[in-house]
Structures are given as C-alpha cells and as structure tokens.
C-alpha cells in the first residue's frame, strides 16, 4: 500500500501532466475504438448485404467473365431448370434462385432516354431483401395466385407488372398503376419492347441502385429477350458460407456440362474482399500511429515525473530498495495511467460506436459505390474493445519503459544529487 502510494504520488503532484497523459491515452484508444467500429461495420455490411444479395455462390454462363458488356445476353444460361435441380440435389444447399439481368431503355414522355438495369426475378425472390422489405407503395411482384392471373401477356396481368423505386418514380413522375414501356434487344440483337404496369415502389439506402433498377417477373423477362428457361445467373446460398469453395469445386464439372461456370463468393467479391482486408490494414496502421504518438507523449510526461523524483528514487535506493522495485514503481505509474486512460477511451468510444451502429453514418456515394448503401452502420465488438483497452494499457507501459530504464541505470550518487 505504501509503495503504491509512493508510486502514484507523482500523478497527484502534477495534475496537468497526469491529465495530459490520460488525455493522450484516452484519445488514442477512442479513435482506435471508432476505427475498429468502422472496420467491424464494413465486415458486417459486407456479409449482411453483399452476401445476402450475391449469395454464397453463383452459376454463370461459360465465358461470362470475358464479356465486355456485363449485361450482354451472349453468355446467358439456357438450361436453368437442370442447373437449379442439380443445386437442389446437394445437401449443403439452402436456397437457389435464377435471375435474368439485362439492360433496357425507357423513353420518357419528354423523350429522354434512361437506361435501366432490368432484373427478371421470381415473385418470391429472396436475393433482394432490401427491396422486398423496402416497399413504400404497392407490393413486390405479385405471384400468379395473388390475382388469379394466368400469366398471359398484356398490361394488367401479374406477368406484366414491374417494380421501380420511389426515387425513380418521383424522377419520372410515375405512380403505382402507371404504365412503362421498356425497350431492349433480345439474345439475337433484335429490338423488343414490352409494356409493364407499375405494381409497387421500393426504397433502399442506395440511391444509385434505386434510380437504375427495375424488377420484372422472371417469365416476362425471358419472354422479352426470347430465352425460354434462361437466366444470366443462378444465385445460391449454402447452410454455411465456409462450404462454398468445396461446393463449387465439387460441382464445377457438372455445371460445365450445362455450359455454365460456378463461382463461390470469394471469387465473386475478390475486389470487395481486398477492400475489406485493406481497411483492416489501414486500421492497423492508423492504430500503430496513434500508439506511437501516445507512447511518445507518455514517455515524455513520465520522464518529467521521473526527473522530478530522481532524488526520491536515490533515497529509496540508498535506504535499501532494490533497483527492480524502483523500476517497477515507474512502470506501475505508467500502467496505472494506461489502464485509466484506456478505460476512459473505451468508455467514451463504446457509446459513440453504439450510436452509429443504431443510426448509421451517411457516407454518401463513397459507400454506395462499394455496393453497401449510403448509410454506414458501425459494428460493436466487445472483444475488439477489450483489445483496444489492452493495446492502450500496453502502450502506456511501453511508454514508461524508457523512463524506468533511465531510473534503473542512474547511479544512487547521481540520483541523490538531484
């Protein structure tokens, strides 16, 4: 107790210096927390949004990756049913769904031409959760049973309903029930057009996606581009995303027989994963810089404390305190400041992370361009907070190491002169 009292004396003696150390540790840990929260958010967004939509894997037409135009129908799958059946015969499969994606043109009454990414999906699609859960008027593509329709061509039938976003509707002055006419090229390059009734409007957190996408029933899309039983991709999810590499490897040969190629999520999101990894590296580098700055401030401040108390350390050594114990006192001082400062940093950081986890932070087009929506939700991880706390405490300990070594090396005679 007496030794602890002596150890912490310097902190009480110099409140401004103590406050400076506490502030530098706390601010470092706080920013580490915030960046860790952002990193966690990026990972969470990636796995929740991108994998939820992109699936754990996809079957694409052979040569798909070599296409100049990603919307080209040249590599569309034509044996979709067989491929879906093949996937469904696998025990690891949780869900599989074909999509037909192509570009179409909408000519506004004012003769403006808008290019829209047209996606033919099943009415009960599960690969666009943000869209299906984000309907703001009308409903998502109704199934044939909803209206008892037969699926015949012509406005009013369920097969001719389309879903656009509220943002696009506002831009084009369209409402639910209005008609839009989409023009495209079929798989042979011949022009085709079809009129759809707007059955519903959605809104997601990505304005770019909202203003460039229209959903139409899969069968209508197939009819429009004249690829019966066709799809540009089949997205699938497995019981565990970790199974995806083995799963795709296992089915590669069979898929190839149907003129397709199978890819797992790591292949499909290579760029995004690299970005996630780069974010981690960036956070580590940032944390390292923060730690170096904090360690420098701490070293400096503890050195000042040590110089002030050098005579006292000399006395303690003279009356029989071992070098190691004096060294320990200096380290204890640093550790105490480190623990207290880190606790402060974590205590301030966690509520901020939790706030942005709940309300998100609007990164605008930056995160939209990465396919993650404009609102960026932070992620909170207790383990990460604990790691930041430990890192902050260790930094203070390292910062006080130099001061401790200095005391360790100073002779008693020299120390007593101070």
């Amino acid at each position: 107790m007496m030794l602890i009292k002596m150890t912490l004396w310097g902190l009480v003696q110099h409140p401004r210096r103590t406050a400076l150390i506490l502030f530098s540790v706390a601010i470092s840990v706080f920013f580490m927390e915030i960046f860790a929260g952002m990193g966690q958010g990026i990972r969470t967004n990636f796995f929740q949004n991108i994998l939820a939509e992109g699936g754990h894997g996809q079957i694409r037409g052979a040569g798909w990756q070599d296409q100049y135009d990603p919307r080209s129908l040249g590599s569309a799958l034509t044996q979709t049913t067989d491929l879906v059946d093949l996937l469904r015969s696998q025990p690891e499969l949780a869900y599989a769904e074909p999509l037909l994606e192509y570009g179409s043109v909408f000519i506004t009454p004012e003769n403006y031409t808008i290019v829209l990414n047209t996606i033919g999906v099943q009415a009960d699609t599960r690969v666009f959760p943000k869209v299906t859960s984000g309907m703001v008027s009308g409903s998502f593509l109704p199934t044939a049973n909803d209206h008892g329709g037969s699926g015949n061509a012509g406005p009013g039938n369920t097969s001719d309903q389309a879903v656009i976003s509220r943002a696009l509707g506002d831009f084009l002055n369209l409402e639910v029930g209005d008609l839009i006419r989409l023009i495209t090229e079929d798989f042979r390059g011949a022009p085709r057009s079809r009129t759809f009734t707007i059955g519903g409007m959605f809104s997601t957190d990505s304005r770019e996606f909202d203003t460039s996408t229209v959903f139409v029933p899969l069968e209508a899309a197939r009819t429009m581009v004249r690829i019966p039983n066709g799809a540009t991709q089949i997205r699938f999810t497995l019981t565990d995303r970790g199974l995806a590499p083995g799963f795709t490897e296992h089915l590669a040969a069979q898929v190839q027989q149907h003129d397709g190629s199978i890819h797992h999520w790591r292949d499909l999101n290579e760029g995004m994963l690299m970005l996630v990894d780069m974010t981690d590296v960036f956070i580590w580098v940032f944390n390292l810089i923060m730690m170096i700055v904090a360690a420098t401030v701490i070293t400096n401040a503890i050195l000042m404390n040590v110089f002030d108390r050098m005579g006292e350390f000399g006395t303690l050594r003279a009356i029989g305190m071992r070098k190691a114990k004096v060294f320990g006192m200096v380290l204890l001082e640093g550790s105490f400041l480190g623990v207290l400062g880190s606790l402060l940093g974590v205590a301030i950081g966690i509520p901020v992370i939790l706030y942005f986890q709940e309300h998100g932070l609007d990164f605008g087009e930056v995160s939209e361009s990465l396919g993650m929506g404009s609102m960026f939700n932070f992620g909170f991880s207790p383990a990460r907070s604990l790691a930041d706390f430990v890192a902050g405490s260790l930094t203070a300990l390292l910062g006080s190491l130099y001061a401790g070594i200095l005391v360790f090396r100073t002779s008693i005679v020299d120390a007593l002169k101070d």
């Binding site: 007496m2 006292e312 009356i319 029989g320 070098k323 002779s411």
Partner: protein, 250 residues
C-alpha cells in the same frame, strides 16, 4: 567493523580526471562515533558514499564486516544497506507523500517485516527520537529538526550496525543541530550503533569520539578523543532532546 584500505576515487569531468579520494585508509570499530571533517570538496561525501555501499572506490578496498563490498552484487549491496547501514542526509530526504511514521516504517516494509512488529518498532523509535504527536504529519508539515528526527528514526529502524550521516546539521539552526547531535550521541551509547558523520562545523565536533580530517582527498588527521566524549556524554544525558521535542525551523 569497517576496514578502509587505500581507497581512491576519481571522477571524470569531460576529459579531465579529478581525484576525489587519494588513498584513504582507516579502520572503524563497532560503537565508535566518528566525525569526518574538512573543507568543501575534500572528499567527505565521496568517502561516506563509499562506506555506505552506494558508490564504489576506483581503487583500494573497503571491507564491511570482513566482506569486500566490491565483490558484492548490486542486490547484495542493497540488502547490506537495508540490513546493516542507516543513512541520514543533509536535506533529510524524506518521502513527501508518506507520514512521519510511514517514513520511519519504510525500511521495515522493504525488509518484509510483519506489520505488527513494524508498528511496535516505529512506536519505539518515535519515543526514542521524541517525535511525540507528529507521527501522522507529512514532511512538509514538520520543522527541520522534526524532519531530521524522522530521518534518524528511519536510519535506526532496521537496527543497523552503522549509521552514516552526511552533514546532518547543515540545514538546521545551531540549537536544533546541537539537539540532533546529542540525540545521535545518545543513540550511539544506548543502541551501540556506530556513527560516521561529516561536517565542516567545528562546534559540533565535541560530540564525536574520533575525528578524521580530510584535505584534498587525503586523511591528514585521525584522532581519538575518548576523554572529551566521556565528559560530553554525561552532559548530553541531562540535556536530552526530549526537552526540545519539536526542534525549530531552520
């Protein structure tokens, strides 16, 4: 108890070698009360530092209870200081955050003495040096004389065989300084502790039983004064420091 054999100590100042001690030799018997006198820069403090195992001679040997202190490791020298040697400093060198009692107790804590025994020993010394009700005061609440009493009690607390005092009265007024010297002389007799103290004040030499005079790093005089000490001893017992327990501020 202490055998100083041809001890030299040199310091370097830039490229210049400065001799602080140049072949000092003497022996110290248990229970002696020795003054080391000489002008500033004659090597008094250097000699005391070497005798107290806080510095090493450049040449020569110091045998403390038969052991050459140069052969001891740093921890062994530290333990020797803790168990065998007490220090009294000119500037008291008390730990500011600790109370008077805690300052006295500190060497016992370092020696890992059980708490009950520590408290008893501290109480004993508080009474011996006459600190009275000031045990819970911190150093900055004490007068110079009281601080030096705390320092004396701290030096004595582990029952050392040797106490080294470097100009113990230099920061005190003459009356308090005299009272401190009387206390040291009395403890020398009562506890049988050897004292070596440095001073450049001839008025306090009367308390010592042996005078060693240094000049330019050499012993120029080494004189036993038993008869003087005997007469002073009887005087000091009647003028106990207890008559002036609070001392006075320097």
């Amino acid at each position: 108890m202490l055998d100083v054999q041809n001890v030299s100590k040199n310091y370097t100042l830039g490229k210049t070698l400065i001799p602080a001690l140049r072949g000092v030799s003497f022996t110290l018997e248990q229970g002696q009360f020795v003054s080391i006198m000489g002008p500033s820069g004659c090597g008094k403090t250097t000699l005391l530092n070497i005798l107290g195992c806080i510095d090493q001679p450049s040449d020569g040997r110091v045998l403390f209870r038969g052991t050459d202190i140069r052969n001891l490791t740093d921890n062994q020298r530290t333990d020797t200081r803790l168990d065998q040697i007490g220090f009294i400093f000119q500037s008291f060198n008390l730990v500011p955050v600790l109370t008077a009692a805690e300052n006295i107790e500190l060497p016992l804590v370092l020696a890992k003495v059980p708490k009950q025994q520590r408290k008893a020993r501290v109480q004993e010394l508080v009474e011996l040096v006459g600190l009275g009700d000031f045990v819970k005061h911190k150093p900055d609440e004490l007068s110079g004389g009281q601080r030096q009493r705390v320092a004396i009690a701290r030096a004595l607390v582990n029952r050392p065989t040797l106490i080294i005092a470097d100009e113990p009265t230099a920061n005190l007024d003459s009356e308090t300084g005299e009272a401190i010297l009387q206390a040291m002389a009395r403890l020398n007799r009562q506890e049988g502790v050897s004292f070596i103290f440095s001073t450049h004040n001839p008025d306090i030499l009367q308390y010592a039983t042996r005078h060693i005079r240094l000049k330019d790093g050499l012993v120029v005089e080494d004189q036993l004064v038993d008869q003087v000490a005997d007469s002073l001893a009887s005087q000091s017992s009647s003028q106990s420091i207890d008559q002036n327990p609070q001392g006075s501020t320097p």
